[in-house]
Subunit: 577 residues, 2 copies
C-alpha cells in the first residue's frame, strides 16, 4: 500500500464525500431539517468527528487552515451568492445596505472593543493585561456578520425579499470594512507608536479597499463577457470562463489587499447578463448547477470543519470575558440597527418596521470568517482567550439564534417572501413606472436612483452590449421570452401527456359545443369555396414576427420591420402567381 502517494487528493475527496453523505443523511429524515438548520447539524457532525479524532489521537484535531478557507472554500459561496443575487432589490436598497455594512460595522467594532476594554479593567476578572488595541482588534473580527452563516439560515426561513437582502447584503459588503479594520488594528498592535496620520490613512483605506474591489471585479467580469463572445465553436469550455474569471478577480483583489468578496460579487453581477446571452443553454445549466453544487459543498465543509476545529486544547476559558463578549455582540448590534434604521426611515417612504428591525438585529450570525481571522492573529499570550470567545459566539449565534429565528419569524408574523412570480401585468407596470420615474427625475433635474439606472441602461445598450454580446441585435423583451418559455413548457407537458398527436381532436372532446357552433358556421359555406379560401390563405400566410423588439426609451419602434414584412408578402405573391 502506497498511501503517501495519493494522500492529499484522497483525503480531500474523502472529506467532501463525508460532507455530501452527511447532507444526504439529514434529508432522509424529513423532520430534522425543518426544525434544526442544516448548519447546526453539520457543526454537530463536525463536533462528533472532532471528538473521535481527539479520542483516538489524544491531541487536538487539525484546525481548519485559514488559507484553505479564504482561498478555496469561501470563493465558491460568494460567487454563488453574487451570481444569483436579485439585482433589483439589491440596488434599490443599496444605500441602506451600505449604511448597515459600513457605519453599522464600525459602530459594532468600536462598541464591542471599548466595552470589552471596560470589562478588562475589573480587577476580579484578571484581564488587565489585555490592551485597548487588542480589544479593538478582537472587536473588528467578532463584529462582522458572516455571509455563509446568514445564507444558510435565511435560505430556509423565506422572509420577504427586502429583509433578506438587507441582512445578506450587509453581511457581504461589510467584508471591506472588516478587512480594513482588522489589518489596521493588527498593524497598530505591532507598531511602537501610532500617530494621527496612520489613523487618517486607515480611513482612506476604506474607500480604496471597497472601490478597488468593485473595480477589479468589474474588469474581470467584463473581460469574461468579452471572452464568451468567441466560444461559439467550443461550447464545451464555456462554463469554465465564468469560474476562472471570477476566481481570478477574487485572487487578484486578495493579492492587492483589496476586498476579495466585493470583487467576486462585482464580477459575478457584472458578467451575468452578458454571459447568459452568449453561452448556450446547456452551458448555462452547467454553470448554474455547478455553482450551486460547489457552494453547497463548500458550505458543508466549512460547517463541518468549524465543528471539528472547536474540539481541542487551544482555548482559554475565562468565562466573564466570553459571556460579556456574547452580551456585547447582541447589545451593540441591536442598538446599531435601531439607531441606523431611525435615520434610514426618515429618508425613505417604505420604512423598515419594528419587526424587521428585530429580525435584522437577531439575524446577525457570526461564522467561519471570524473563526479563520482569529486563528490568523499574530501570536500573543491571550490568543487562546480570543479563540475561545470567538468559538462561543459562533456556536451561540448559529445554534441559539439560528434555531430560534424560524419560530420567531412565525410568531411575529414577519412578512414572508411571496411564493408566486410576479404576473405579466405587474411586470409591465413596474417597468412602466421605472421609465416614468426616470423621466420625472430627468425633467426635475434630480439625479436619483432611476435617473442613474436609466443612464446605465442607455450606456449598456449603446456601447457595452455591442462590444460584449456575440449576436447583438435588439434583445428580446422579457415578456416575449417568458411567453416563449411558457409555450415550450406547455408543449412538453402536452407531449408527455401523449396528447400532442391528438391535439386537433382533443379540444373537441372538452368544449365540443364551441366547435360544433363553429362547424355550423362552416356548414353554410360550400366545401369547395372553403377549400379555395384555405388554399389562398395558406399561400399568402407568412409567419407572424413572434419577437417584437424590446421596448426601449431610446429607440423608436418599427424602424426596419415593415420593409421586411412587405418583402416577404411580395415574395409569397410572386411564388403564388
Amino acid at each position: 500500500v502506497d498511501y503517501q502517494h495519493v494522500q492529499v487528493p484522497f483525503e480531500i475527496t474523502l472529506w467532501i464525500m463525508l460532507a455530501s453523505l452527511a447532507k444526504i443523511g439529514f434529508h432522509l429524515y424529513n423532520k430534522l431539517p425543518s426544525v434544526v438548520p442544516e448548519s447546526c447539524l453539520l457543526i454537530f457532525v463536525g463536533l462528533i468527528m472532532g471528538g473521535i479524532i481527539y479520542g483516538f489521537n489524544d491531541r487536538s484535531p487539525p484546525v481548519m487552515d485559514s488559507d484553505i478557507f479564504f482561498l478555496y472554500l469561501l470563493p465558491p459561496i460568494v460567487l454563488d451568492a453574487g451570481y444569483f443575487m436579485p439585482s433589483r432589490p439589491f440596488f434599490e436598497n443599496m444605500g441602506t445596505i451600505l449604511l448597515y455594512a459600513v457605519v453599522g460595522t464600525v459602530w459594532n467594532v468600536f462598541g464591542i472593543g471599548f466595552s470589552l476594554y471596560g470589562i478588562c479593567q475589573v480587577k476580579a476578572f484578571q484581564l488587565q493585561d489585555v490592551s485597548l488595541l487588542h480589544n479593538l482588534l478582537f472587536g473588528s473580527l467578532i463584529a462582522a456578520v458572516d455571509p455563509v452563516a446568514v445564507l444558510a439560515v435565511f435560505e430556509e426561513i423565506h422572509v420577504n425579499e427586502k429583509l433578506h437582502i438587507l441582512v445578506f447584503g450587509e453581511s457581504l459588503l461589510n467584508d471591506a470594512v472588516t478587512v480594513v479594520l482588522y489589518k489596521l488594528f493588527r498593524s497598530f498592535c505591532e507598531m511602537p507608536a501610532i500617530n494621527s496620520l496612520d489613523v487618517l490613512a486607515g480611513v482612506g483605506q476604506f474607500f480604496v479597499v471597497g472601490l478597488g474591489g468593485v473595480l477589479v471585479g468589474l474588469t474581470f467580469g467584463l473581460t469574461a463577457a468579452f471572452t464568451t463572445r468567441f466560444t461559439k465553436d467550443i461550447r464545451v469550455i464555456e462554463p469554465l470562463f465564468v469560474f476562472l474569471y471570477s476566481y481570478l478577480s477574487y485572487l487578484t483583489a486578495e493579492m492587492f489587499h483589496l476586498s476579495g468578496i466585493v470583487a467576486i460579487i462585482a464580477c459575478a453581477m457584472g458578467m451575468k447578463r452578458y454571459v447568459e446571452a452568449n453561452i448556450s443553454l446547456k452551458s448555462h445549466t452547467t454553470v448554474k448547477y455547478f455553482m450551486k453544487m460547489w457552494s453547497s459543498v463548500s458550505d458543508t465543509l466549512i460547517f463541518i470543519f468549524l465543528g471539528v476545529s472547536t474540539i481541542g486544547e487551544n482555548h482559554e476559558w475565562n468565562w466573564p470575558y466570553i459571556c460579556f463578549t456574547v452580551i456585547f455582540c447582541l447589545v451593540w448590534r441591536a442598538s446599531g440597527v435601531l439607531v441606523l434604521t431611525f435615520f434610514v426611515n426618515r429618508f425613505h417612504v417604505n420604512s423598515i418596521t419594528g419587526k424587521d428591525q428585530f429580525i435584522i438585529a437577531y439575524g446577525g450570525l457570526r461564522g467561519a470568517i471570524c473563526f479563520s481571522l482569529v486563528f490568523l492573529l499574530p501570536d500573543f499570550h491571550r490568543k487562546k482567550l480570543f479563540i475561545a470567545a470567538t468559538t462561543v459566539v459562533i456556536l451561540f449565534t448559529v445554534f441559539i439564534q439560528g434555531m430560534t429565528i424560524r419560530p420567531l419569524v412565525d410568531l411575529l408574523a414577519v412578512k414572508r417572501k411571496r411564493e408566486s412570480a410576479p404576473t405579466v401585468g405587474e411586470q409591465i407596470h413596474i417597468r412602466f413606472l421605472d421609465h416614468l420615474l426616470a423621466g420625472i427625475e430627468d425633467i426635475s433635474g434630480h439625479w436619483g436612483q432611476y435617473y442613474w439606472k436609466d443612464k446605465l441602461e442607455y450606456f449598456n445598450s449603446k456601447y457595452l452590449q455591442k462590444m460584449l454580446l456575440r449576436e447583438y441585435d435588439q434583445p428580446k423583451s422579457s415578456i416575449v421570452l417568458l411567453y416563449e418559455k411558457l409555450e415550450r413548457k406547455h408543449a412538453i407537458e402536452l407531449a408527455e401527456a401523449g396528447q400532442l398527436g391528438h391535439a386537433p381532436h382533443h379540444p373537441a372532446l372538452l368544449n365540443n359545443r364551441a366547435v360544433i357552433t363553429d362547424k355550423r358556421l362552416e356548414d353554410t359555406l360550400n366545401p369547395d369555396v372553403l377549400d379555395n379560401m384555405q388554399e389562398i390563405l395558406a399561400r399568402n400566410l407568412y409567419r407572424t414576427r413572434r419577437t417584437g423588439p424590446a421596448y426601449n426609451r431610446h429607440t423608436l419602434p418599427g424602424e426596419s420591420e415593415p420593409v421586411e414584412h412587405a418583402k416577404e408578402i411580395l415574395i409569397l405573391r410572386h411564388r403564388g402567381l
Copy 2:
C-alpha cells in the same frame, strides 16, 4: 502586493486560462484545426511558452510533475473516456482489444528492448554501458500507446466505430500491462540478482493488477449507483457523487498499485446506466457537460505542458539511439499488429482488413504517459538519453503521424463512421438477433458472447436494478424512450414555430381534404347525437398506457396490466352511473 499568499491557486488558474484561451484562438481560424490536430497546435504553444520562459530565466522551464499528471490531469480524461465509451462495440471486440493490449504490448516491449540492446552493442555508438534491463525498462515505457494522444487525434478523423474502439480500447487497457512491466523492470534494475521466481511473480501480477483494477472500479461504481438512490431531496449535489466515486476508485487502485485507468473505466461503465436513471435530467446534463469540460481542459494542459517540458537542458542527444528508437517503435508495432491480426482473423467472421491494420499500426501514438514515466525513472547516468529519446518519439508520433493520418485515411478510403444514428428498424433487428443468438448459444451449449450478455442482463434486471435504482419498475423500452424524446422535440419545435396555440386548426390548413370528408361524415349525424356520443366517450375514456413494459426474454408480457385496465374502466363506469 502579497503574491506569495495566492501564488498556488493563481498560477493554476492562469495556466488553465492560458489553455482555454489557446483553444479559443485556434477555433477562430476555422482552417487551422481542420489541417493540424489540436494536440500539435497545443504542443507548439507549449514549445513557444517554454522558449520564452527559458529565454527569460536562463534555466530549464519547470517540467510537468509526474504526480500532478497522474493524480490530477489523467483521471478526468479517462473518466470521460470510460463514461462515454460505446459499450456495445467495446464488449463485442473485447477479445481482440485484450489481445492487442496484453500480447501486443508485451511483444512491443520486448521487441524494442532487445533490438535497442542490439544497437547498444555497436561500438561506434558509444552506448555499451546501457544494460539489457535498462533497455527493457525503456521499452516498457515507450511501447505503450497513449490514450490521451489517440483520443485527441482519432476524435477528429471519424474512422469507423470498430477501428476506433480497437485502437482506443487498446490504449486504455494496456495501462495494466505497462504498469506491471515498468515496475517489474524498475525493481529488477535495483535488485542485485534476479531469480526465476521473480519473473513468475511478475507474470502473476498482470492478472492481479488488471482484474484488481476492474474489481475496485466496479465496487465503487455500484456504490455510486446505490448512493444516488437517496439524493432525491438534494438534487444539487447529485453530480458530485459521479466524480467523487470515480476519482476514489482511481486513487484506491493507485494506492494498491493496481491499474488506476482500468479501475476508473470499470467504475464509469458500471455506474453509468444506474446513475443516469437515478439522477435528474439537469444533473445529468451537468455531469456530462462537466466531464467533457474537465477532460478537455486536462487534455489541453497536458499537451501544453508537454511542449513546455520539451525545452530545456535535460536531454542527451545521442542520435543513433534516438533514431533507432523511433524506427523500432514503428517496426515492432507494425509487425505486432500484423501477426496478432492474422490470428484474430482466423477466428472471426468480420475480419480486420489490410487498411484497418495499417491504421491500427499507424495510430499507435505515444504521449504524456511515457513522458511522465521517463521522468519517474530512478536517477542513473543515461536518464537524460532516455528523456531525449522519449521526447523525440512523442513529437514524431504526434506531429508526423498525427498530422498525416487524416490524409492517409482519406487516401485509403478507410470506412468512416456512419453519420446517422441507427433507425428504429435496425435497432429492433439488432435486438432481435441478439436474443436469437443468445437462444441459439443457450441451446447449443456454447458459452459465447451472447450467452454471457444475456445472463448478465438477467442478473441485472433480477437483482442489481432492484437494489440500485430508486424507482424500480419495468424499465421503459428504449424505443418507447426514443418515441417520447421525439415527441418532446417535436412539441418544442411546434412551440418555437408558434404553431402550438393554433394546433387544432393547423392541420386543417395542410390536409384540409381529409378534415372535410371527416366533417361530411359528421354532418350526417344529428349534432345532439354527436354531442351525446362524445360525452359518453369522454366519460369512459382512460388514457392509454403509453409505456408498455420493455421486452424481456425472462418475463411474460402483460402479467398485471389487464387487471389494472379493467379496474380503471370499472371506476370510471361507477363514476358515470
